[in-house]
């Protein structure tokens, strides 16, 4: 059974790339010591490098000027961490530059340090729109020995289209690289990755940023999720951080036999109304633009 970890991390401004790496080593080490084979970090982790890049209160000029270098430094850090710990690593996300465009990007690194997958955010939040980020135009899944993985970055979790596209391509583990607004609200959290895990009958790993970042307060708890039928107390949670504002590694084993039983007993995808979707969605989406 694969053991996975969501790392709940407080936002910080790194003084250097080495400083970022040292902080992440300290955060990841306990999870690896407990046997994690896949480790997930939160959204905006790479923005810690804004400190090293000398960004002030408005980081936009630095992002525009040094965005490519930031992206490269974050990728190198992710690769080094994956190799160091010999784990599959989703090191969170960064905003960087690709050509003339700013983009929000997350990664999946293999234990040998290669980039197994990149995922750009495909729907933008208010700040990302204000900064003029370009949204991603692809949603791909990544095969690993632990299962087929789909990355859901930030705001993308609000759009059920994203999780459906990923799970219909066979993803059985959805990773949400998350920064969810504080304070924590259990009811509102049902509208995050929890909903997509239930709708698509897959595992979910939600790693949350906590603390202040770019003028916004964020809170956990980070969690590892599964369909309610296979979780204790029927809540859909395999493991969850005990704190909403502190740092913690959350670990759980993913029981794929149990997941397959849930799908066989209640085969949601079997009941798709394909013809309705094919006939109605194109015109409904495009009509919504006018």
């Amino acid at each position: 059974m694969p053991k996975v970890a969501a790392i709940q991390l407080k936002f910080f401004r790194a003084q250097s790339v080495a400083d970022l790496e040292a902080r992440l080593v300290a955060a990841i080490q306990p999870a690896v010591d407990d046997g994690a084979q896949l480790v997930v970090l939160p959204q905006h982790v790479g923005l810690a490098l804004l400190g090293a890049a000398g960004a002030g209160a408005d980081p936009l000029p630095v992002l525009r000027q040094k965005g490519k270098a930031l992206l490269r430094a974050f990728e190198e850090t992710g690769a080094e961490l994956a190799v160091r710990f010999k784990v599959w690593l989703a090191p969170g996300s960064i905003i960087g530059a690709d050509g003339e465009s700013l983009v929000a990007q997350s990664y999946l690194f293999a234990p040998d340090g290669r980039i197994a997958g990149r995922q750009r955010q495909t729907h933008l939040g208010a700040l990302e729109k204000a900064w003029g980020l370009a949204r991603g135009d692809s949603l791909d899944v990544f095969d690993t020995p632990l299962g087929r993985i789909g990355l859901v970055l930030g705001e993308d979790v609000r759009y059920p289209e994203v999780a459906r596209i990923l799970t219909l391509q066979g993803a059985t583990i959805l990773i949400h690289i998350a920064a969810l607004p504080a304070p924590f609200d259990e009811q509102a959290r049902l509208a995050s990755l929890w909903r997509e895990v239930q709708s698509n009958q897959v595992f979910g790993i939600e790693a949350c940023l906590v603390g202040e970042c770019l003028g916004q307060a964020y809170a956990g708890p980070s969690s590892i999720l599964a369909p309610v039928e296979m979780t204790e107390g029927g809540r859909g949670i395999l493991a969850q951080a005990v704190t909403t504002d502190g740092e913690q590694a959350v670990l759980a084993d993913l029981d794929f036999d149990a997941l397959q039983k849930v799908v066989d007993g209640y085969p949601i995808f079997h009941y798709f109304n394909y013809d309705l979707y094919a006939r109605e969605f194109p015109k409904a989406y495009y009509a919504s633009r006018s």
Binding site: Y159, I165, F256, F272, N273, F281
Partner: protein, 364 residues
């Protein structure tokens, strides 16, 4: 080959059901009841009443009409202008069939049917089909009369009926304050226990009412975000979820319905349950009203999950419209165009004899 005895039995049943649903029974049953006429709603505000109904078999049209009357009256006396009923509100009319009343407790529907028919190969669908001519008349007459006499819009919940193509569908019905039937919605996604005898519909409809645009897909339809997204894209503001659920005593299971859907497709959500212990079923649920931006909490909620109760709540459509203007989803249409048609088609082709086989980790 049909024997004389079969013919006689069939004609006898048809005659009996005709007699039990003959014209005038519903109006006579309600003739002596007082009706308080509801005030008409404004464009921006409507008070809704959720009739959490306990499914009990009705021995007669009068029983059925009076039961629906009591719930509707309760809602209207508390100010409701739009009353909604749950899924399977037509099912109590199975009580019109001879022998069903005696078999309804403590066994499954299929076992009860087996006992009733002496082990003949009769399906649940056959039973609904048999009672349909009478049930259709009583159901439509009851809810049309209630809508007209209380001066309300009324969503009557759903009833299983055959259509001209010979198939059985679950239909929700919508009535205007003058008693006219102004809308129908077939269930679009079946539940596991309905597969084989019900047929899913192929059209989602949105209805313009004086206070807002309403969609009324049924129960399992809300397991699929596709349903509510389509309704939202077509302008729906109020999503009615007529539900029957044997697992809704688990709050987290019940949260998989309209409750979470209103956050991705911002609408009001009316979650209205039928509850029962008939035929070995244990349908439970606390009828609730949900809104986007309310942190997932119910604006109003039934206290009991197994008793009859009416929940009344005012909907502020002006506030909803303002919320939607500020928080409208911004779709990535090129992304959907690139992927959605292909991934549905690929998945459809890949299902192995109807089974979704998950990709698995590589074992050590």
């Amino acid at each position: 080959m049909t024997t004389f005895r079969d013919w006689l039995t069939e004609k006898g049943l048809a005659a009996m059901l005709w007699w039990k649903s003959r014209p005038g029974l519903v109006s006579n049953a309600l003739a002596q009841q007082p009706f308080q006429r509801a005030e008409s709603p404004s464009r921006d505000h409507v008070k809704v009443g959720l009739a959490q109904m306990r499914m009990e078999l009705a021995a007669s049209a009068a029983d059925y009409a009076q039961h629906a009357y009591r719930l509707t009256r309760n809602a209207v006396e508390r100010g409701a202008q739009f009353v909604v009923f749950p899924e399977y509100t037509g099912a109590p009319l199975l009580g019109l069939l001879p022998g069903v009343q005696a078999l309804a407790s403590g066994r499954s529907m299929q076992e009860a049917i087996g006992e009733l028919t002496g082990g003949a190969q009769v399906s649940v669908g056959d039973v609904f089909r048999a009672v349909a001519p009478a049930a259709r008349k009583i159901y439509l007459d009851t809810f049309s009369t209630l809508a007209r006499k209380f001066n309300i819009h009324l969503m009557a919940g759903s009833i299983v009926l055959p259509e001209s193509d010979g198939n059985l569908y679950s239909h929700a019905h919508l009535f205007a304050p003058d008693g006219r039937l102004i809308g129908m919605q077939r269930k679009l996604h079946l539940f596991t226990s309905e597969e084989g005898w019900l047929t899913p519909g192929d059209e989602l409809r949105v209805f313009d009412l004086p206070f807002g645009r309403v969609a009324m897909p049924i129960c399992m339809d809300y397991t699929f975000w596709e349903t509510t997204r389509l309704a939202y894209l077509r302008g729906a503001e109020i999503l009615i979820d007529p539900a029957a659920d044997d697992r809704s005593d688990n709050e987290w299971l019940a949260a998989r319905g309209v409750r979470t859907r209103v956050h991705e497709s911002p609408c009001y959500g009316l979650y209205v349950f039928i509850v029962t212990d008939l035929f070995g079923l244990h349908w439970r649920g606390r009828s609730s009203v949900y809104a986007p931006g309310a942190n997932g909490r119910a604006l109003a909620r039934a206290e009991s999950d197994d008793q009859e109760q009416v929940v009344v709540c005012e909907l502020d459509l002006a506030a909803l419209r303002a919320f939607r203007a500020e928080h409208a989803p911004e779709f990535n249409l090129p992304l959907y165009e690139k992927y959605l048609p292909r991934v549905y088609a690929d998945y459809r082709a890949s299902e192995q004899a109807g089974r979704r086989v998950l990709s698995r980790p590589v074992r050590d």
